[in-house]
């Protein structure tokens, strides 16, 4: 675990010394801040962040793709992956370290949005239950998207291709929610696997163990698969 943390801190330093973190943060805060002000404050006049969390969930997709696209692909392209593989590190430590770094960066960006409920609390009386669960839901969604991004990055040498794979998978998953119109049990399955259930339940103040189980399963499965992919590449 110590090795994983070492890799994480190294990746974090790399993030914050490159324009990636700041570019992502700038556009993320600009779009989300505009939505919060022009819709929640000016149009709806309600101290409710449901819409903001919905937008945040969708914005997390490109953010996850950008943050994770270079994690392994850049190393493979530049050849530094061989050097990394020669270190006395286990594959899971490498994957976990890089994942943790991307997660911390995502948390940093999320932390900047805490000003929204802060303003609502000063000027009105928002219900903090849905706000807390909303942030929990958005964090879990982001963590899942980042894990998928890590896997995408491990599959290819090209950062661009990794980003495209990640975007296709994530948007594809989210658009599966259209399948819920079928109705019945199959419709409910589509509703859950597209993360619509997690997003909607959390934004209205509900914590459902089904959503938590699904998100955590996705994270564990994708990271496990990424470790196996790294293993294959090592032995090729």
């Amino acid at each position: 675990m110590k090795n994983a943390l070492t890799i994480a801190s190294k990746e974090l330093k790399s993030y914050f010394s490159s324009p990636v973190a700041y570019t992502v943060g700038f556009f993320f805060m600009l779009i989300l801040g505009s939505w919060f002000f022009f819709v929640t404050i000016l149009v709806k006049h309600q101290a409710i962040l449901t819409d903001t969390f919905t937008v945040l969930a969708w914005l997390s997709i490109p953010v996850a793709a950008v943050i994770t696209m270079h994690l392994f692909s850049e190393e493979r392209r530049s050849g530094t992956i061989e050097l990394l593989m020669t270190y006395p590190l286990l594959d899971w430590e490498v994957v976990l370290g890089k994942y943790l770094a991307s997660l911390v960066l995502y948390l940093f960006v999320l932390a900047l949005t805490l000003q929204y409920p802060f303003f609502l609390t000063i000027f009105s009386n928002p219900d903090w239950g849905p706000i807390l669960t909303g942030y929990t839901g958005v964090f879990l969604l982001g963590a899942t998207f980042l894990a998928i991004g890590v896997l995408s990055s491990s599959l290819t040498r090209s950062s661009v291709v990794a980003a495209i794979i990640c975007l296709l998978v994530l948007f594809g998953l989210r658009f599966l929610s259209a399948g819920s119109a079928i109705g019945g049990e199959l419709g409910k399955i589509f509703y859950h696997i597209s993360f619509s259930a997690l997003s909607e339940n959390s934004s209205k103040g509900l914590i459902d163990t089904r959503d938590l189980t699904y998100a955590l399963s996705c994270i564990i499965f994708t990271l496990f698969t990424a470790v196996r992919v790294i293993e294959i590449n090592r032995w090729k």
């Binding site: 700038f26 801040g33 499965f221």
Partner: protein, 616 residues
């Protein structure tokens, strides 16, 4: 026979002595002799029988190796071929010709893709056509195409699948699939057995204690309730209804929920007696209840109603020229359609004649007084008032100017029926000013979902009366005419003098009176009974000719159900929501704009520029 230990040792170690080399060269052309007579090679080979088994085996292999080494020196490339073939006369050996293994052709690749797509399509088509032949056909086509690809390219497949990297990758894929399978199983279990935590302040996603109690009672009794929502697939309320059903589903496994699209299953919808969508039908045995206003309160009330084993009775007062509920539906002035729908709502419908029964039967849940044409006598009025004083529920439908002696009773409950006719030249039915469209009070449970309104025909207005109103009577408006309406006195209904005074008129009032209960009735909340009186100055709208126009039927059924409900039902209140209104002045708005839209993104960008500058 003696052994040469040195030679034996050399043979075991694979070291050739010069003597052996000479001898093996002499013997190279007579392979058969060597193979059959190993003793020819010298003293160590003279007695193979005395050589230990292991040494003999080793000697044979060493001997073959020697032979091969010599052949390698002489023939080069033929060595490998010789090794793989049974030993033959070297002069008669021919090189083995094998066809090269070619990769699949583009057509083969197309076949593979087609097969995979066909299988995928069969899985997807299962969702839409479970019982049809499409999934089977597509699966069959996929299997045939994939099988064809495998047969045509079997050598290539065998070559590819036998490579080390593919075997290793297949091993890894199996591990990943197994792990994924375990997580999938975990999710399936979690989907069946889950827990929800509602952190909203008003617990709006949690059922009320009364609803939970009813569900616990249902589970304890082992009853099976079937709830069917008749909602079109495109209806935007479908999601909200599903969410509500989810709440009940979470707390009870004895309720079966399903959806029916009335646009697709018209016959089923009609056979169930559903005439308004969206509606939710509750069925328990032969009892049923239908709600059109779909929220927790009505959901739970319907569950209580279907579980109600004691009969609820609606009694129609007769003997004064009232329309009868026992006519056929073809009788335009009868009440048979209303009776039929009341029975569908689990009411027992009877008629009573007060002079004979001398009192309103105590088991009467609701007393209906519909357009009496003759005056009620004093004893009948006293019987009705006694019934009300004991927490009774009465619906009075009068005709303008014909209160049949009930004016005093109505006045005690704060209501006066005016002797007028309400007219409307805009909100009317086919241009007839006296057939007016009226709307319900959106805050009243009886009318809040009746958005299209009702059609009242030759109706009069009502007004509040305070002259002889009893204490603890509360009166609220239920139905009103449009703001465009006016009223004319009954005697001068054709005049248009009142047209100048256009305003909304009260058409129905509901009075509620809380009584002190001195009885020991344990079913009622301690110390209190509630009497209810609903008065409408129109009776034509419930006749067979008119009851199915607009929301007339729903209105009268809602009224009966509302008056019939017990205090237990009345205590179920929907969770209210606190207002989260945000009212900001320009300075506050400017502050939020500055921070959220301008300063925060600039801060992040500035941080990036600073880091870049430091590293420069």
């Amino acid at each position: 026979m003696t052994y040469d230990p040195e030679k034996l040792r050399n043979l075991l170690l694979g070291v050739r002595s010069s003597e052996d080399t000479d001898k093996s060269e002499d013997e190279s052309s007579t392979e058969k002799e060597h193979s059959s007579t190993p003793s020819d090679a010298g003293s160590t080979l003279e007695e193979p029988k005395r050589t230990p088994k292991g040494e003999e085996a080793l000697y044979s292999s060493q001997k073959d190796r020697h032979q091969q080494t010599d052949e390698e020196k002489n023939t080069g490339k033929q060595v490998k071929e010789k090794q793989s073939r049974p030993k033959k006369d070297p002069g008669s050996q021919k090189p083995l010709k094998r066809k090269p293994v070619l990769p699949p052709s583009p057509l083969s690749w197309l076949t593979l893709c087609g097969g995979a797509l066909s299988l995928f399509a069969s899985v997807i088509s299962l969702a839409f056509d479970k019982n049809g032949s499409a999934p089977i056909m597509l699966a069959g086509i996929g299997i045939v195409l994939l099988g064809g690809f495998a047969i045509v390219n079997k050598r290539w497949l065998r070559l590819i699948l036998s490579t080390r990297s593919v075997r290793y990758s297949a091993n890894v894929a199996t591990v990943i699939a197994s792990f994924g399978g375990i997580l999938l199983l975990l999710n399936i279990i979690a989907y069946q057995y889950y827990y929800r935590l509602d952190l909203s302040a008003e617990r709006i996603h949690t059922l009320s204690p009364q609803s939970l109690q009813i569900l616990a009672d249902i589970d304890r009794a082992g009853e099976k309730v079937y709830v069917t929502a008749f909602v079109a697939a495109s209806d935007i309320t479908r999601k909200a209804i599903d969410d509500l059903m989810d709440l009940y589903r979470y707390h009870s496994r004895n309720i079966e929920f399903s959806f029916v699209d009335p646009e697709i299953k018209k016959e089923l919808t009609e056979s169930k007696g559903i005439n308004r969508v969206p509606s939710v039908l509750f069925e328990l045995g032969d009892r049923r209840s239908v709600i059109t206003d779909i929220d927790e309160q009505n959901f739970t009330k319907a569950l209580i109603a279907v579980r109600e084993t004691s009969s609820r009775t609606v009694a129609f007062l007769t003997g004064h020229g009232e329309p009868s509920p026992d006519t056929g539906d073809e009788n335009q002035t009868g009440l048979s359609i209303l009776k039929k729908h009341l029975e569908l709502d689990n009411f027992h419908v009877t008629s009573i004649r007060l002079p004979e029964s001398r009192q309103v039967p105590p088991e009467t849940t609701v007393l209906m007084i519909v357009a009496p044409q003759r005056e009620l006598d004093q004893k009948e009025i006293e019987a009705i008032e006694n019934y009300l004083d004991n927490g009774g529920r009465v619906i009075v439908l009068t005709e303008p100017g014909k209160t049949a002696g009930l004016s005093g009773t109505l006045a005690k409950y704060g209501i006066a029926a005016n002797k007028d006719l309400v007219l409307d030249d805009k909100e009317n039915y086919f241009g007839n000013n006296s057939n007016i469209r009226v709307t319900g009070n959106p805050d009243n449970p009886i009318t809040k979902s009746l958005s299209e309104g009702m059609l009242f025909l030759n109706a009069g207005s009502l007004s509040l009366s305070t002259t002889s109103r009893l204490s603890s009577v509360e009166t609220e408006s239920v139905v009103r005419s449009s703001v465009n309406s006016w009223s004319e006195p009954i005697e001068q209904s054709l005049s248009q003098e009142g047209m100048e005074k256009r305003e909304a008129r009260e058409m129905a009032f509901l009075s509620t009176r809380k009584l002190i209960d001195s009885s020991n009735d344990e079913t009622k909340p301690e110390g209190q009974k509630i009497a209810r009186l609903l008065v409408i100055n129109d009776s034509s709208f419930v006749l067979n000719a008119n009851i199915e126009k607009f929301y007339n039927l729903d209105f009268i059924l809602n009224s009966v159900n509302y008056l019939a409900e017990s205090e237990q039902l009345m205590s179920i209140r929907a969770a209210g929501q606190t207002s989260r209104q945000l009212n900001l002045n320009p300075i506050q708005r400017g502050l939020i704009f500055a921070f959220s839209v301008v300063l925060t993104p600039l801060f992040v960008a500035g941080l990036g520029v600073w880091v870049w500058y430091k590293r420069k």
